[in-house]
C-alpha cells in the first residue's frame, strides 16, 4: 500500500466540526487519513498541541475554526490566527515544512469546502512523505 500520512484535525465545535458533519451528511468523500479532535474553539487549542502532535508522530496537522467575525465566542479565532501565525514560523524554522500545518476557516455549511480542504491537504502532506523533523523514536 502506498504511503498513508497521519493527519490530525483539530476542529472547533461550532463551525468546522459541524462543517465536517455536513460533509458526512451530504455523503461527500475525502481521504481517510485525517483523525478529528473536537475542541470548543480554535482559541482553546494551545498551538503547542500542534507541536505535540508532530512530536508524537503526526505528518500533518489541520486546525479549522469559524470564519473571522463568526466565532461563537466572538474573538477566539482572532487570537488563534495570531498564535498560529507565530507557531507556523517557529515550526518552519525548526525544519518542519510549512505545508504540513494549516489553520483554515470552515463554516458549518461548508461541507464541500471541508472536503476540498482535507483532500487538498492530505495530498499535499502525502507528497512531502513522513515527517522526519522531530527525529528518533518517541
Amino acid at each position: 500500500m502506498s504511503y498513508q500520512p497521519r493527519i490530525i484535525g483539530f476542529l472547533c465545535n461550532w463551525c468546522s466540526y459541524a462543517g465536517a458533519d455536513m460533509a458526512g451528511t451530504s455523503r461527500m468523500s475525502y481521504p481517510p487519513n485525517i483523525r478529528i479532535i473536537r475542541v470548543p474553539c480554535t482559541g482553546r487549542l494551545d498551538p503547542l498541541f500542534v507541536a505535540k502532535a508532530f512530536q508524537e508522530g503526526a505528518d500533518g496537522v489541520l486546525v479549522a475554526g469559524c470564519h473571522p467575525g463568526d466565532c461563537h465566542y466572538a474573538e477566539g479565532n482572532y487570537h488563534a490566527r495570531r498564535r498560529y501565525a507565530l507557531l507556523h514560523l517557529l515550526l518552519e524554522f525548526l525544519g518542519i515544512e510549512p505545508e504540513r500545518i494549516r489553520l483554515e476557516w470552515v463554516s458549518a455549511s461548508e461541507g464541500k469546502r471541508f472536503t476540498q480542504l482535507v483532500t487538498d491537504f492530505t495530498e499535499q502532506v502525502a507528497r512531502l512523505g513522513p515527517c522526519q523533523a522531530v527525529g528518533g523514536q518517541s
Binding site: 512530536q55 507557531l87 514560523l89 525548526l94
Partner: protein, 292 residues
C-alpha cells in the same frame, strides 16, 4: 566618573538610608576575570561591586526570588526591558524595586584565562545603549534614534535559506546535546512559572526520557512560551553548559514578532502583549486558503 564607583556610591546611599534591603549587582568572580552576581546587604560591602564588560548576567531574573522586600538592581538596557516585562506581567511591584540603569558598552562572553575584548555578536549588532527604565542612571546617556529592531542575525538568515531537512538536522544536532539541566530556564527572567510544564507528569507535555523528540518538545515549548516576550538578554545561551544556540531560536521569534505585530517586548511596562490582542482584519498568512 568610573561606572563601578558610581554604582558603589549609589548602593551605599540606598543601603545606609534603608531605602532597600539588598543591592543586586556584580562582583569579580573567583577566577579574577569574569564577573558574577553579588547580593550586597551591608553598606560596608559595597566596594565589592564592579561593572565591566564581563557583567553579562541579567540580574532582573533574581527579582523573581526577592518579591517581598525592597531591592535595588543593576541593569543593562536589555535587562531593563526584562524589568518592564516583569512589571507588565505583574511579577514585581515597581515601587519595591530601585533600578540602577547602566549605559551599556556591550558585554563579552565568558572569558577563559585572560580578559578578551570581543563583544558578543548580539552586542555588536545592538543599538539600544540606554536602559528603557531606571531610577538612577550610571554613565552618560547615548543619543539614539528611534529604537529599531536589530536586523535578523546572519546565522538566522543562513538557517532560513537552508532546505527544511538541513535545518532540522541542524536543530537535531543542537538538541541532541541537551542534558535537560534547565539552566536556560533558571537564568531566564521570562520563566516565572512556579511549576514548569516540563516537570509535570499530567498532562505530560514532555516525556521524562532525555532523547531527541523529547528534547525537541522541550525547546519548542520553551521558545513558544517566550515568543513576543524574550528581550534577548542572552542569559539562556550563556547559561547553557552544552552551548545550544537558543539565541537563534529566540531571535527568530523576536524578529518575526516585530515584523508581524510591530512589537518589541519590554520597551514599556504598559504595552499590550501581541498575543493578548488582535486586529480584526489583519492578514497574517494563515487561514487564507480559498477553495476552488
Amino acid at each position: 566618573m568610573d561606572l563601578s564607583q558610581a554604582i558603589r556610591d549609589k548602593a551605599r546611599e540606598l543601603l545606609e538610608t534603608g531605602a532597600v534591603k539588598c543591592v543586586i549587582g556584580y562582583e569579580t568572580g573567583t577566577d579574577g576575570i569574569n564577573a558574577r552576581p553579588a547580593f550586597i546587604y551591608e553598606a560596608a560591602e559595597v566596594d565589592r561591586l564592579i561593572f565591566d564588560e564581563t557583567c553579562g548576567h541579567n540580574l532582573a531574573t533574581y527579582l523573581l526570588h526577592h518579591r517581598a522586600e525592597n531591592i535595588a538592581v543593576v541593569v543593562k538596557p536589555c535587562d531593563s526591558r526584562a524589568i518592564n516585562l516583569l512589571h507588565g506581567e505583574h511579577q514585581i511591584e515597581r515601587d519595591k524595586v530601585y533600578i540602577i540603569g547602566v549605559v551599556c558598552p556591550g558585554v563579552v562572553g565568558r572569558q577563559w584565562g585572560v580578559k578578551g575584548r570581543q563583544l558578543l555578536p548580539a552586542c555588536q549588532a545592538c543599538t539600544d545603549r540606554n536602559p528603557v527604565v531606571y531610577d538612577y542612571l550610571v554613565g552618560e546617556p547615548v543619543a539614539e534614534g528611534a529604537p529599531a529592531p536589530a536586523p535578523p542575525l546572519p546565522e538566522v538568515e543562513d538557517l532560513e535559506r537552508m532546505p527544511p531537512e538541513e535545518r532540522c538536522q541542524f536543530w537535531r544536532r543542537e538538541f541532541e546535546r541537551c542534558i535537560r539541566c534547565y539552566a536556560c530556564r533558571q537564568a531566564c527572567p521570562g520563566c516565572q512559572c512556579t511549576e514548569c510544564f516540563v516537570e509535570r507528569l499530567e498532562p505530560e507535555w514532555v516525556g521524562i526520557r532525555i532523547d531527541a523528540p523529547q528534547n525537541w518538545m522541550w525547546h519548542t515549548i520553551r521558545a513558544f512560551h517566550l515568543a513576543g516576550r524574550c528581550i534577548e538578554c542572552q542569559a539562556c545561551r550563556r547559561a547553557c553548559p552544552v552551548d545550544i544556540r537558543l539565541d537563534l531560536l529566540n531571535h527568530k521569534l523576536a524578529w518575526e514578532v516585530a515584523q508581524l505585530f510591530n512589537f518589541r517586548p519590554g520597551m514599556t511596562a504598559e504595552a499590550l502583549f501581541p498575543l493578548a490582542t488582535f486586529v480584526r482584519d489583519e492578514k497574517l498568512g494563515v487561514g487564507e486558503w480559498a477553495s476552488s
